[in-house]
Amino acid sequence: MIKNISNLGDAAIYCDFGKDVNEKINSNVISYFNHLKKLIRENKIEGITNLTPSYNKLIISFDLSITNFKKITKILENLKVINNNRQDSKKIKIPLCCDEKYALDLISLSKKLNISRNGIIDLHLNKEYYCYMTGFIAGMPFLGDIHESIRVDRLQTPRVKVPKGSIGITEQFCNIYTFESPGGWNIIGNTPLKVFDKLNLNSPSLIKPGDKVSFYKITKQEYLNWNE
């Protein structure tokens, strides 16, 4: 499943699973990630300090005083990983409020795409998304693929502050801003749901790579009354 292994500096391994971004390649990445995570938890591999899965890559960071590139590469070459992603993935439903107050870019998107505001929202609500990875900021899920007719570039000038809970789209992807952060995605609404809970140390991220995510619409009143 790994197409190519190389070193990323002297303390990380760069596993390339193929150049495309799709669910199949990503589920291979996640299968390796889960497999290695288990081996680390069971103390069967020494010295690994981090695993970073992304669309089509897996980066394995290690402590150079304990192990090195050759040793881990050898382990990887002898690893038998099966794509077992389906067993671990769960389905998550996210409430989405598209009131003007939260859908910061919906009007401009509607003009740009020549689709009504409701039309954009319907296209968004009509699909189940796959979580490729989480990161950039803590717990931010990168979901895809959104409907072809609502794909757009990032904002020309990124916002200095995107409000927490914002749902953004760009290219084939959709994400959720788990914290207020700078960002350039097109914001179509906001969720009151706590997608990342930094006080929940065992499982802070609601959405994990490989999970399936869909959105359902709530009114502004439901948003304001939201209570977890």
Binding site: N7, L8, G9, D10, A11, I40, I59, L64, F69, G135
Partner: protein
């Protein structure tokens, strides 16, 4: 007995608690954080009889002014740091780095600046009374992760100390050779071939200057622009400390401890682990050159780095 604590009279530019950093959290978007200069961080703990991963105060440029309330502490400052100890009887003692001192209640530590460098460390025997977050004391102010709600220290705060009093103070010190470097060694990055031949040559042969836009997250450099002939974006993927990214503007950025967990700019090179500490200590305005080494050389340079660190630590015992 009353609690022993430091009152922060002046916070300094960027003072926060750090330890070795976090592991196993990149995949949820939480980066490693931790001391920018890992070697002198460990040494600071060793000089006050701590385990090497105890939380210490890291400061940059101007450090804090701290007054001890109640009790006494055994402290040390490491780094190329200029500081004074203001005793309660108004005597000002010029502080010497890399040696431990006994501080009595009402005495103050005035950390004036980090000379020709960026980061320094203040360690105290027994450590600070602070709760770990995700198994680490390290504060990441950009992501608001870590103790103190992920914030740096501010004036008026109190930092509580675990050990209320020092009973048998024994001074410990070492001679530390604060060498300043102008050469940063790197291995080729995973997108090295995205750059033109001219860009590759410039990267390894010409000088780059450290700019003011440098912090715990990354160091922005200015110099010959690096021409990308393939794509100025890549599909977002993991980052590690030391990665040299080149965004569309052609100016390289070195990733440091608080870097984002993933990024989408091409990676021209990666600073070798042995040079992370030295690179972090380069103050804005410094001129540097990159030198290419291969993986074997990088690994053997790390062995030398570890051996040197160990020999400093052994001298302390």
């Amino acid at each position: 007995m009353s609690d022993t604590y430091f009152e922060i009279l002046r916070s300094g530019t960027n003072s926060s608690i750090q330890d070795k950093g976090r592991t196993h959290l990149y995949h949820i978007g939480i980066t490693i954080s931790g001391a920018m200069d890992q070697r002198i961080f460990s040494i600071s703990n060793a000089l006050v009889n701590n385990n090497l991963n105890e939380g210490v105060i890291e400061f940059a440029y101007q450090g804090p002014l701290l007054q001890l309330k109640n009790g006494s502490v055994n402290f040390v400052i490491t780094g190329n740091v200029v500081f004074n100890i203001l005793r309660k009887n108004s005597i000002i003692e010029e502080g010497k780095r890399f040696q431990s001192y006994l501080l009595e209640k009402e005495d103050q530590i005035d950390i004036i600046y980090t000379k020709d460098s960026v980061f320094g460390y203040l360690a105290i025997e027994g450590g600070f009374k602070i709760e770990k977050v995700w198994d680490s004391y390290s504060v990441n102010t950009k992501a608001k992760i870590g103790p103190n709600n992920g914030e740096k220290f501010s004036a008026g705060e109190k930092i509580y100390i675990k050990k209320s009093e020092v009973n048998n103070f024994v001074k410990k010190k070492i001679d530390y050779n604060n060498s300043v470097t102008t050469t940063i060694r790197t291995t080729k990055g995973t997108n090295f071939d995205y750059f033109s031949e001219e860009a590759k040559n410039k990267f390894f042969n010409e000088e780059y200057q450290v700019t003011n836009l440098s912090d715990r997250m990354g160091m922005r450099l200015e110099g010959p622009k690096l021409e990308n002939i393939v794509n100025t974006n890549i599909k977002s993927e993991g980052l590690v400390k030391g990665v040299v990214q080149v965004p569309a503007d052609g100016n390289p950025i070195i990733m440091f401890s608080d870097h984002g967990s993933i990024g989408g700019y091409p990676k021209i090179a990666v600073v070798i682990t042995a040079d992370h500490d030295k690179a972090a200590q380069l103050a804005p305005g410094s001129r540097i050159k990159f030198k290419e080494v291969n993986l074997d050389e990088a690994e053997s340079l790390f062995k030398t780095y570890s051996k040197d660190t160990k020999s400093y630590l052994e001298k302390i015992k």
